[in-house]
């Protein structure tokens, strides 16, 4: 543990945060433009060329907006909740391998913050923490719609986390490691989506549920719960919820890419390591578009159907997948 290591880590962390914040900002822009196209509209196009400065304008607006806290709210938790939503989103980014080893001013640099031995478990752990923010936001607002949103979130997360964890087991078994870096390295020749189509589908669905994206956005549910857990929020606190959601969209896309779509692997990466992040960026772009596309296409699920789907369809399927994968590995000798 040397000082220079700390320096490298700190630098990497700062760069990661900046990238993620930028990603969050332009993910919102991306979504608004894409949905507008799908709905035969134009979308934001006034601020800057093609409306590219729109996220900045939005940010400025939210920063200067007046903050208020409902009279009977629990002030401490009301303030804490948005932070609890945003922070885990950033934390997830730490284990994603954005690229391989690249030369950088004469020294070799790994394009990830940490290669943790238990990275996938880390994803589960950190991902599960985010629910606290939502539940507490719902409870501390002292508003029954908010509370319902928070409760829905808790129930939804518990039901989908199991299937998600089991979907992760497939790639883990194939790669023989829980480290994301090793999993990506193992996909040099063939992407795991080929071996694990079922796990891929399950993971994508549960990832949407995990970040409360449509069609699983029941905790927010404007029409039912008037905004759900963030009904009472405005200004920067509201922006934090937003930030958490969109960073998670980006990070989850990155995770899906790393777990099933070969991560930074692609033609020519061995020769030109800097191609890795580019491939990664393209894949993330496609996956984020998929998320937007889904939102524009599918209606929201009914709450009881959502639970039933999680417990009675996804969970058994994920179990079956683990079972088949294990058998396949034993029979085919890995």
């Amino acid at each position: 543990m040397t000082a220079s290591m700390f320096g490298v880590w700190a630098l990497k962390a700062v760069i990661l945060i900046v990238i993620l914040l930028t990603g969050f900002a332009y993910a919102t822009y991306y979504e608004r433009r894409a949905i507008a196209r799908i709905q035969a509209r134009i979308g934001p196009n006034r601020a800057g060329p093609w409306g590219l400065l729109q996220p900045v304008a939005d940010g400025v607006k939210l920063i200067f907006k007046e903050e208020f806290i409902p009279a009977k709210a629990d002030r401490v938790l009301f303030t804490l909740a948005p932070i609890l939503v945003a922070v885990p989103a950033f934390m997830l980014g730490a284990v994603v391998p954005w690229g391989g080893e690249v030369p950088f001013f004469g020294r070799t640099v790994h394009l990830y913050l940490a290669d943790v031995d238990v990275a996938t478990l880390y994803i589960m752990a950190v991902g599960s923490l985010a629910v606290y923010g939502i539940v507490l936001a719902g409870w501390s607002s002292n508003n029954k719609y908010s509370l319902l949103g928070g409760l829905r979130s808790a129930a939804q997360m518990i039901s989908y986390e199991l299937a998600m964890g089991l979907a992760l087991v497939g790639p883990i078994l194939l790669a023989g490691s829980m480290s994301l870096v090793k999993i990506v390295e193992a996909q040099k020749s063939i992407w795991y989506i080929v071996y694990q189509p079922l796990a891929f589908v399950i993971f994508v669905i549960t990832a949407f549920a995990e970040i409360n994206r449509p069609p699983f956005d029941l905790p927010e549910g404007e029409q039912e719960l008037t905004g759900g857990y963030h009904t009472e929020y405005g200004g920067m606190r509201f922006a934090l919820f937003y930030m958490g959601e969109y960073i998670k969209v980006v990070v989850m896309s990155a995770l899906i890419a790393a777990l099933f779509l070969g991560g930074y692997n692609g033609p020519g990466v061995e020769a030109f390591p800097w191609l890795g992040p580019v491939y990664m960026f393209v894949k993330i772009l496609v996956l984020v578009f998929f998320a937007i596309w889904t939102r524009a296409t599918l209606p929201r699920l009914r709450y009881d159907r959502l639970m039933a789907f999680g417990w009675k369809v996804l969970f058994p399927l994920a179990l079956l997948n683990v079972f088949l994968t294990a058998i396949g590995i034993v029979v085919l000798g890995g």
Partner: protein, 166 residues
């Protein structure tokens, strides 16, 4: 005083403080959150003690599942604020605190002065607490308990469903 000890003392202070917070908080939601904090600190301690797998399992299972369940229950049942100590056996409270304090003193005395032999903790190697190592022990040496535990979980799940059925 080494930096290790400093870090440990800091974590210990947070853990004990959070535990006391749980003990004395009137609001059940805060009690839950304090306990979550204790568990997170313990997870960090596990990491330091060379058990990364356990640390993350701790976060996933305890904070991610069990405590969320608690929070859920608290919110479903309503965070009832009970008047503590005014109950029908109010005499128990001073006794409980006195005796637990006595116990604490005895335990600290025992560990500080009487039990000397354990020595310093070995700094864990990376492989010791890895998933692979744990998996090997768990599925060879402790296979039967593992299976029994799985049955226990199944029974518990069935029991919970049956109990809460309308």
């Amino acid at each position: 005083m080494s930096i290790d000890l400093l870090i440990f003392l800091g974590l210990a202070l947070v853990a004990v403080g959070a535990a006391l917070g749980m003990l004395f908080s009137r609001n059940t939601v805060y009690a839950v959150l304090f306990l979550v904090l204790v568990m997170l600190v313990l997870a960090v301690l596990y990491l330091i003690l060379g058990a990364p797998f356990l640390a993350l399992a701790q976060v996933t299972v305890y904070t991610g599942a069990i405590m969320v369940l608690f929070l859920f229950a608290v919110m479903v049942l309503g965070p009832q604020k009970l008047a503590e100590g005014e109950g029908p056996i109010s005499w128990q409270r001073p006794w409980a605190f006195g005796l637990t304090a006595l116990f604490l003193v005895e335990v600290v005395y025992a560990f500080a002065a009487r039990v000397g032999g354990l020595g310093k903790l070995t700094c864990a190697t990376a492989a010791a607490g890895s998933p692979a190592a744990i998996g090997k022990v768990l599925f060879n040496q402790y296979l039967l308990p593992f299976e029994v535990t799985s049955v226990l979980l199944l029974v518990a799940a069935v029991g919970a469903v049956v109990l809460t059925r309308e």
